[in-house]
Every structure is written in structure tokens, then in C-alpha cells.
């Protein structure tokens, strides 16, 4: 249910051309084969009364309200389950139907609370609407018979209530949980009159429910209702905008009363999510108005001083003066900045422009450095552009889905629901991950192969898969001959015995036969699609692995059409966009190198400033240079590097070494502890601009309220640039996008007006593709021919040792997001109040660790403590944690190791030891048993 009501056509659309012509109440309509009579009627402008039907769910046929009469057919079939037939003549309103419907409604209403005037769904209730629509005037059965009116309300979920007394047992919630979300947490328990919706016999909070909100969305009554609506009342207006969490980039209707956000409802026409959502986007928006938010600028001379609240003019002037002063003393290159993947394209663009044009150097980098920079490098080397190849819809055409180093059900849940739907339809699944993620075995899904490799051996595994493809004659020779280059050299390399599954079995821990079977399946099982995450990129060979996957896809011809491709699942909402906008120190917007004179000339002409032809510092290089003394000031936009970046001790030493740290953020985060200027930022509810998601989809972010800080972030940046003597002025973010489009060929067709008209577009969006490009490399690769790159496996230098015998790998969890700055300030903490260490029972036992014990986690660079959770998801020898909580500070233990090509940190492999925090003795005993030195120090 939502305020801005989209027309509900009753049943889902059927694919194919409209070929079947029917008549509904005399109105002609032509629809695709398989379309329901209900949908055909709705398309002709006639809505048949319904309760159990909604167009996000397959027809169910239980409520008996949508009955129709069809000429030449007996009885009164349900229009939702009856498909159209050529020439069919349908009548939706007859005296007979009227009587039947009123009878049905009488039964419903006789067992429903008559509290419409005080009900939270008043005005937004389909039962209420249908009562009116069928002309119900009496309930002959009275209200004193057996009923469900005393059923208790389940308020356990922090975001919605389940008011069972109002349930009409239409099963929409049950079906939404299964069909849309794919969790199957809900069921109809009991039979006949005893039938009731149940979360597996538990409260919603204790059940398998993932709080995606699909059931709340589907409920036609007030049975499943947002607590915010119950507390605040029905919203009165909607604004379509884009979620500020992960790289799926879901479209939402922000529904408000005045300026107060009541709820976020997933937008049915959203290209990325098509009406679905997850617990973060749907419910976890309270951080935007959290009292921790800082709304006024603050400055201080030293990080040991108290913050001093100042006005905007003072803050901007102070920042500009100190930046210029540092440059005067230490040189133009002594300052730089970091852009954020949590801000809009327009906000990112102005920061990199400020750095290049006003600072006068290329010391700009972005948080994608620490997540998907190897994607940019690897896909550019092989395919010619730094982006995933498919749109999300493409997964519906995949026959074999290979998930590598990603945990979509936690990290990208809305896309995972699409993927799970396809898997339930019969697509085969290969999971390549050290950890047994949920996808490996979940309701109605079982991975055909789980290659549970040792952390750090991705490249050996992908090479071995390619070896099988090549040596068993599974190469798509025609595709390779027509579309690719450098195949022969690669083939000679990959065919070498050292790349065989048998040769790498001991190293990777993946049984050779299992790997061979997986490779055969990927190569021969139909459309093969690769989806990958940070388990690929955050390694010393992250870029090599990306190229290895690209090789595999090209060798099998799995590029350039629906259902295939190589697809990064981006972590943050605007990782793709922040990279597109020229955030890397060697590239101007559109991924063009700063040394290209012709490109630079275009920018110099537009910007009125000369630009350096040399690359600037990357984030890790900035830290090194700060400690060495040549880098003295940093502008940090919406990024908490002191918590998110590896080797926290090194990062904080670098921050302490700088003369000026400027933080632009919503909250005084960990980095702000080292800052001299704090510039309060805007939440996504205040932003006006665009985000670009993992499928290159550019979505509008629309403000639902004015900036609580009094200024947009792009205005602040432009004013700092002006205060530094560089003229930069925009009156509206659409002007920034116009400049981006003028300078960036892949964005040349993008404008706010087009986005408002089309909803969204996927770049490249230019003269050749004015409405965007859902799937790339269809007729040829961006670089011309796809390039095979030899990818020898080189082990990481991070090895388990006698002192640090375990390998730590890190990840994320569904309810939390990144460093938790947003989600920790919502009720999502109910699910994940702290980071925990997953450890295999065997590894725990030999250390005397029990489930729930406080343990010390130490590496060669640092130590932290957290609670242990015994889990056999991890293989023996591997432990796992998340980095959502600063108290834990998981990155205290991660090291300086990084991807060779991009310096993306190697978060996924850290040699560690684990021991009981308060009792050294068991650790020593365990160490004795293992004959390794005790390491709690």
C-alpha cells in the first residue's frame, strides 16, 4: 500500500508481443498470450474488484472477489487465474457477479474489526475500498460468531506490527515473502477457519524474516503496517528518489507529512528494484534526523582543542586560507582530497574539480580505492571500460550463475531476490567463496557447486577453471575468433600443467573434480553470468582476478547479450558514479587519463584552469606521504577513513601528521577526531542530484526537505574553491550535470530533464544510445576487441605463520552498512548490535573458546577484541568478522598489503591469532597443543 498509488493491474505482465485481442465490458484490448483476464481488463481501463491479487505476485485465486462472466463459458471464473483467449468477451459487472461479490465481502467483514475510523490504514485499505466498490450495505451474519478479533498483535519487529485480528488470510504476505523476497519465512498455518499467517510459529523478530518489507507492501489491510504510520498517521505526499545504501540503487517513494518522512515505499517503476526493497532502504532512514547529526560548521586549531561552532562564511574562509597557506609553505601538491561514494555524482564532480582546478593538482581519490578499484583496472584492460556489463534484469535470462566473493543476500539483498527467483526457476548456481554464504543452501536453492577455496587463491581457481575450458575443448571458438585478441598467448599460458585443477588443489583446497565440474557447467550450461564482490577485488591480486574472470567469460562467449556478463556488485550506492566522475588521481571524468593532451585541453577550456598532466596520489599514497611529510592537508568528503581503511594505526598516524584535516560528513565520525574543520553534510533526503548504481543506471536523488545545514554540499565546495581564488559557481545541480554531460562522452545524453522523463538511464547515454545502454559490448567491445590477459597466480605475501596461524577475512551483514555510521543510528542495531568473530568450532575448541566468549583478535599490526560465535560456515583455519562498529575496529588488524595494480587493500587475507580475552592460560594450552607460540600480547 502506498500513498502515491500506482495502478495495480492485478497480475504480473507476461512477456512477448500483444497478440491476443479480447473485449472487456465492450472495451477492446490486445495483450500478450498468457495475460490474465484481470490484467487485460485493467489495461482496458476496467479494474475488477480483488483482494488476494496484486501485480507483484502470481495469481492465487483465493478471495473469489474477482469473478467475471465470459461469453460461452460456464460459471463465474476468477479473472486473476483465467488467461485471455482470442475473441473472448468478458463481463465484469452483472447482477449475478454483484451478488456473489457482496456475499464474499459479507463473510470477510463479519470477521474483521469495525474500527475503520481509528484504523492506521484508514484511507489506504483495500478491504475498505472493496467494500465500497461492491456496494456492501449489510452483514447478515452479525459479528457474534466465531471470529479472530481477539488475535494478539505481534509488535516484535522494530519497524512494523502484525495485527493478526485484521488479517483476511489472503496470503499476499506469504507469497511476497516467497515470490518477491525469496525468504519463505511466512506460511499459512492451520486449515479452514483456523488458517492464519505465521512466521514459522515464532514472533516476526525471532523468525527467518529479513524485514525487507515485501509483506507490508503486499498487505491489503492494516494487518502488516509500518510503526511509523501507526504513530504518525498516513503521509500526504510522495517524492520519488533513490536509496542511499548499497550499489543496487533502489528507487523509493519517500512519503511525508509536511516535511516529516513517514515511510519509504519501494517504487514499482524503479529500474533497479521494480518495487522491492530491503531492511536498510525500506526502514533504516532514521539516521537522517538522528540527534547525533551535526548541523553547523565547526573549526579548531588543533585536534586537542574543543570544537568551535562558526558560521558558514567563517568555516569556508578558514578552510581556504589554511589550504592556501599550506600550499605556500609546502608546495601545490601538499594538499588533496577524497570523494565519497555516498554522495551524488554532482557533489563528487565538484570536489574533484576543486582539487584539480583550485588546488592545482591531481591528488584526488575516492573510497572506491578500497573496494572496486581493481574492477576499474581489470575490466578496462580486458573489455575497455570500467563497468559491469549487464543490467540487473539480465539475471532473469541466466542459466548458470557464478557468484564469486560476494554475499548478495546480505550485501545486495534486492538484487539477490532477483537472483534467487531465477535460481528457483531452475538456473544452476556456482558459489566461489571461503565461507558458506546463505546462497549455498537456502529455501528452494542449492548450489550445484560450492568451491570453498582458501582465502587468497582466487586467481589459482579462476585459472584452473579456464584451464578446464581450454583443455577440454569448451572454448567458444567463433566468439573468440571474431571478438577477441591475444588469445593464443593466453591459451598457451592457461594450458600449462601448473594451472590444472589437480595442480592447484592442495593450494586452493578445492577438490579438482569439483572444480572441473563447475568449469564444465559454466562453459556448457547455457548463459553463464558472473557476479562478484569485494571477495574478488580486496586481494593482492584483485585486478588479476578481475581480468581472470573476464578471460573466462570471453573464452566461453559469455559476454554481449542478456543473461551473461561480468558484473561487479558495488558496495556503496554511488561507487560507480564516483569513479565515473573523475575521482581517480590519474583519470578525468569518463576514465580519460590526465596525460592525454587533447582531453585535458577540453577540460582546461571549460574550467578555465591549466591542469597537471601527471597522476596524483592515491589514498594509501596520501597516508604514506603524510607520514613522510610531503602531504599536509586533506579534504575528506563523506568517508570515514579512520574506520574503513586498513591498518588503522597507520591511517591515524597519517591523519595526526597533517596540518589540516577537513571532514564533510553527517556525523562526527572516527576521522573527525583528527579533523580541524568539520563541514556538516546533507542526508540523501536533502540532496538534489543523481546516483549511478552497479548496473550503470543513473537515478535521480530528489530532495524531500531543504538542507538541514542551510547549504548543499556542492555549494560548500564551490564556495571553498572561490575562496581559494578559483571561480566556481552553480545555481542548481542540473547545471553541474550539464557540465558533466558536455565533458564526458558516455554521459553526453544525460540531463535532469531526461531522467525526470524516463525515470533513469544507463550509461553510455549518447547520440548512439539516447535512452542508455542496458547491456554493454553487444556488437563489439568498447576497446574494439576483447583482450585476453595472462594472469599467473602469485600468492599473497600475507601467510599464516606459527604466531598467526589463522586467516581473517572480512565482510558485511544484511542489517548494517559499511562503517555503520548510518545503520548504527537506526533500530537495525536490534539485529547486529556488535561485530562478532565467526570461528570454526575446531579452531575454537583448541583455543578453549566457547560460543559468546570475548576474544582477542591480533595480527602483526594490531589487536582488538570482540565476541566469538562458533560457526562451521568457515573452514577450519579461517575466521570472519564485519567492520560495522568502531568499538571493534576490525581494521586495526588488517594490513598495508594491497592489490598490485591499484593499491586496493587486501582486507580479505590477514594472518591472525585468536585467544580468550580474559584468560591467557587456555590460549597457551591451545598453543602448546598446536606447538605454536602463544600470541595474545
Amino acid at each position: 500500500m502506498s500513498l502515491l498509488k500506482e495502478h495495480d493491474l492485478g497480475t504480473p505482465a507476461k512477456p512477448g508481443p500483444a497478440t491476443v485481442s479480447v473485449e472487456v465490458d465492450g472495451m477492446p484490448v490486445t495483450v500478450p498470450e498468457g495475460t490474465s483476464v484481470m490484467r487485460a481488463a485493467a489495461l482496458s481501463g476496467i479494474d475488477v474488484p480483488k483482494l488476494c491479487a496484486t501485480d507483484s505476485l502470481e495469481a492465487f485465486g483465493s478471495c473469489r472477489l474477482c469473478l467475471v462472466e465470459i461469453d460461452g463459458r460456464r460459471g463465474t471464473p476468477a479473472s486473476c487465474t483465467t488467461p485471455v483467449a482470442e475473441g473472448m468477451k468478458v463481463r465484469t459487472q452483472t447482477p449475478k457477479l454483484e451478488k456473489l461479490r457482496q456475499g464474499v465481502m459479507e463473510l470477510y467483514i463479519s470477521d474483521h474489526p469495525l474500527d475503520c475510523l481509528t484504523c492506521s490504514a484508514n484511507g489506504d485499505c483495500e478491504l475498505q475500498d472493496m467494500s465500497g466498490e461492491v456496494g456492501l450495505r449489510q452483514v447478515r451474519y452479525g459479528y457474534d460468531g466465531a471470529n479472530h478479533l481477539a488475535e494478539k498483535t505481534d509488535s516484535s519487529n522494530p519497524y512494523f506490527d502484525f495485527e493478526a485480528s485484521k488479517c483476511i488470510a489472503c496470503s499476499r504476505c506469504v507469497r511476497a515473502c516467497g515470490e518477491v523476497q525469496g525468504t519463505f519465512a511466512l506460511t499459512i498455518e492451520g486449515r479452514g477457519f483456523e488458517s492464519k499467517v505465521s512466521a514459522g510459529g515464532k514472533s516476526f523478530m525471532d523468525s527467518e524474516c529479513v524485514s525487507c518489507g515485501a509483506c507490508v507492501q503486499a498487505c491489503p489491510t492494516a494487518t502488516l503496517q509500518e510503526k511509523s504510520v501507526i504513530q504518525l498517521g498516513m503521509p500526504s505526499r510522495s517524492v520519488i528518489t533513490t536509496c542511499a545504501y548499497c550499489g543496487v540503487g533502489c528507487s523509493f517513494k519517500a512519503e511525508l507529512r509536511g516535511t516529516e518522512l513517514v515511510r519509504m515505499v519501494p517504487h514499482k517503476d524503479g529500474g533497479a528494484n521494480e518495487g522491492h526493497s530491503c531492511v536498510k532502504g525500506r526502514f533504516a532512514f532514521g539516521y537522517a534526523t538522528h540527534p547525533d547529526r551535526v548541523l553547523t560548521p565547526m573549526v579548531r586549531e588543533s585536534i586537542s582543542d574543543e570544537w568551535r561552532v562558526v558560521d558558514w562564511d567563517t568555516a569556508i574562509s578558514y578552510t581556504a586560507t589554511r589550504l592556501r597557506g599550506i600550499q605556500a609553505r609546502h608546495g601545490t601538491g601538499a594538499i588533496g582530497g577524497i570523494t565519497s561514494s555516498r554522495t551524488t555524482n554532482e557533489e563528487v564532480y565538484v570536489v574533484q574539480k576543486m582539487i584539480r582546478a583550485a588546488f592545482g593538482n591531481n591528488n584526488v581519490d575516492t573510497c572506491a580505492r578500497v573496494c572496486h578499484s581493481p574492477t576499474g583496472y581489470g575490466l578496462k584492460q580486458t573489455f575497455g571500460t570500467s563497468a559491469g556489463t549487464q543490467d540487473f534484469r539480465s539475471v532473469a535470462k541466466a542459466d548458470v550463475i557464478m557468484v564469486i566473493g560476494a554475499n548478495p543476500t546480505d550485501g545486495h539483498p534486492v538484487f539477490a531476490s532477483r537472483m534467487k527467483r531465477r535460481l528457483r526457476e531452475g538456473a544452476r548456481l556456482i558459489v566461489v567463496d571461503p565461507r558458506r554464504i546463505d546462497l549455498v543452501r537456502s529455501p528452494h536453492i542449492q548450489a550445484a557447486h560450492h568451491l570453498q577455496l582458501a582465502p587468497g587463491t582466487n586467481v589459482a581457481v579462476v585459472n584452473a577453471m579456464a584451464h578446464v575450458v581450454l583443455t577440454e575443448g569448451l572454448v567458444d571458438q567463433e566468439f573468440v575468433a571474431q571478438r577477441c585478441e591475444d588469445f593464443d598467448g593466453w591459451a598457451e599460458f592457461i594450458a600449462r600443467p601448473e594451472n590444472s585443477p589437480e595442480a592447484v588443489e592442495e593450494l586452493t583446497g578445492v577438490p579438482a573434480e569439483e572444480l572441473r565440474a563447475a568449469a564444465r557447467l559454466y562453459a556448457t550450461g547455457g548463459n553463464g553470468a558472473i557476479y562478484y564482490g569485494l571477495g574478488v577485488t580486496e586481494h593482492s591480486q584483485g585486478s588479476t582476478m578481475v581480468m581472470g574472470m573476464a578471460n573466462l567469460a570471453m573464452a566461453t562467449g559469455n559476454i554481449g547479450r542478456e543473461g551473461v556478463g561480468v558484473n561487479p556488485l558495488r558496495g556503496q550506492n554511488n561507487v560507480q558514479g564516483s569513479c565515473d566522475m573523475g575521482s581517480f588521481p590519474h583519470e578525468l571524468p569518463g576514465y580519460r587519463h590526465v596525460s592525454d593532451d587533447a582531453v585535458r585541453a577540453v577540460f582546461e577550456d571549460m574550467w578555465g584552469s591549466s591542469l597537471l598532466p601527471e597522476p596524483g596520489l592515491r589514498i594509501p599514497n596520501m597516508f604514506d606521504a603524510a607520514i613522510e611529510g610531503s602531504f599536509r592537508a586533506i579534504f575528506v568528503q563523506g568517508e570515514d577513513i579512520a574506520q574503513s581503511d586498513p591498518n588503522t594505526k597507520h591511517v591515524t598516524a597519517a591523519l595526526r601528521a597533517m596540518e589540516l584535516v577537513v571532514v564533510q560528513d553527517l556525523f562526527l565520525n572516527e576521522t573527525a577526531k583528527f579533523a580541524h574543520v568539520f563541514l556538516p553534510g546533507t542526508s540523501f533526503l536533502e540532496k538534489d542530484g543523481t546516483f549511478t548504481n552497479a548496473e550503470r543506471r543513473i537515478n535521480r536523488v530528489r530532495p524531500v526537505m531543504a538542507p538541514k545545514t542551510g547549504k548543499h554540499e556542492w555549494e560548500i565546495v564551490a564556495e571553498i574553491a572561490q575562496a581559494m581564488g578559483y571561480p566556481m559557481r552553480y545555481d542548481h545541480p542540473r547545471e553541474i550535470m550539464a557540465e558533466i554531460a558536455a565533458l564526458t562522452p558516455t554521459f553526453s545524453g544525460v540531463s535532469f530533464e531526461k531522467l525526470d522523463k524516463l525515470g533513469s538511464v544507463q550509461w553510455p547515454c549518447d547520440e548512439k544510445a539516447p535512452e542508455g545502454t542496458p547491456i554493454m559490448h553487444m556488437d563489439g567491445f568498447v576497446r574494439g576487441k576483447g583482450r585476453f590477459v595472462q594472469t599467473p597466480f602469485v600468492p599473497t605475501r600475507e601467510r599464516s605463520t606459527r604466531k598467526f596461524p589463522l586467516i581473517l577475512t572480512t565482510g558485511r551483514i544484511l542489517s548494517q552498512y559499511n562503517v555503520g555510521a548510518q545503520t548504527r543510528r537506526t533500530q537495525n542495531v536490534a539485529w547486529h548490535p556488535e561485530d562478532v568473530l565467526e570461528i570454526h568450532p575446531h579452531d575454537a575448541e583448541v583455543r578453549g573458546i566457547g560460543d559468546g566468549d570475548e576474544v582477542t583478535l591480533s595480527s602483526r599490526v594490531g589487536a582488538t577484541s570482540l565476541r566469538a560465535v562458533l560457526s562451521d560456515r568457515m573452514p577450519v583455519g579461517v575466521v570472519y568478522t564485519t567492520f560495522h562498529h568502531p568499538v571493534t575496529g576490525a581494521n586495526v588488524v588488517t594490513t598495508e598489503n594491497s592489490d598490485w595494480a591499484t593499491n586496493c587493500p587486501e582486507y580479505k587475507v590477514t594472518a591472525v591469532q585468536v585467544g580468550l580475552k580474559h584468560s591467557v592460560a587456555p590460549v597457551e594450552r591451545a598453543a602448546e597443543e598446536l606447538r605454536v607460540p602463544a600470541t595474545v600480547d
Binding site: 591531481n362 599514497n621 598495508e896 598490485w900 593499491n903
Partner: protein, 68 residues
């Protein structure tokens, strides 16, 4: 202590050991020119002069090409 530049160039070099030596050195030098800030290149060249033994032979050869 090994400088970050030496560590980084050695990590790059090991990825190119399967190449012909001269081609690998050229490729590594090109990579460094493409992605490294000039001060990092200067520091690497200084290390080449003062601590050549710290560098992988391939890294050393690549670094010397940066002078060209």
C-alpha cells in the same frame, strides 16, 4: 625500513615475472608512469641510487627506465 615505493614496485614486479624481462620492465615502467604521482617516482629513483639491493631485479630495471 623499506620505503612504500620499494614495496609497491616489488609487488608489481612479481606479477610480471612470467614476461620476457625487457618487455616486463617496459610494462612496469609504463604502469608506474600511468598511476604514480611524480614524488613517488622520484623517491623510487632515489632508492634505486641508494638502496638498489632492496629492489627485485625486474623492478630495478623498470625503475631505471623511468629516467628516460
Amino acid at each position: 625500513m623499506q620505503s612504500p615505493q620499494v614495496r609497491l614496485v616489488n609487488e608489481i614486479a612479481v606479477q610480471f615475472h612470467h614476461w620476457a624481462f625487457d618487455d616486463a620492465a617496459e610494462a612496469i615502467a609504463a604502469h608506474i608512469r600511468t598511476f604514480w604521482d611524480p614524488r613517488m617516482r622520484s623517491e623510487l629513483l632515489r632508492r634505486v641510487e641508494t638502496e638498489p639491493g632492496e629492489l627485485d631485479p625486474l623492478a630495478l630495471a623498470a625503475a631505471r627506465l623511468l629516467d628516460r
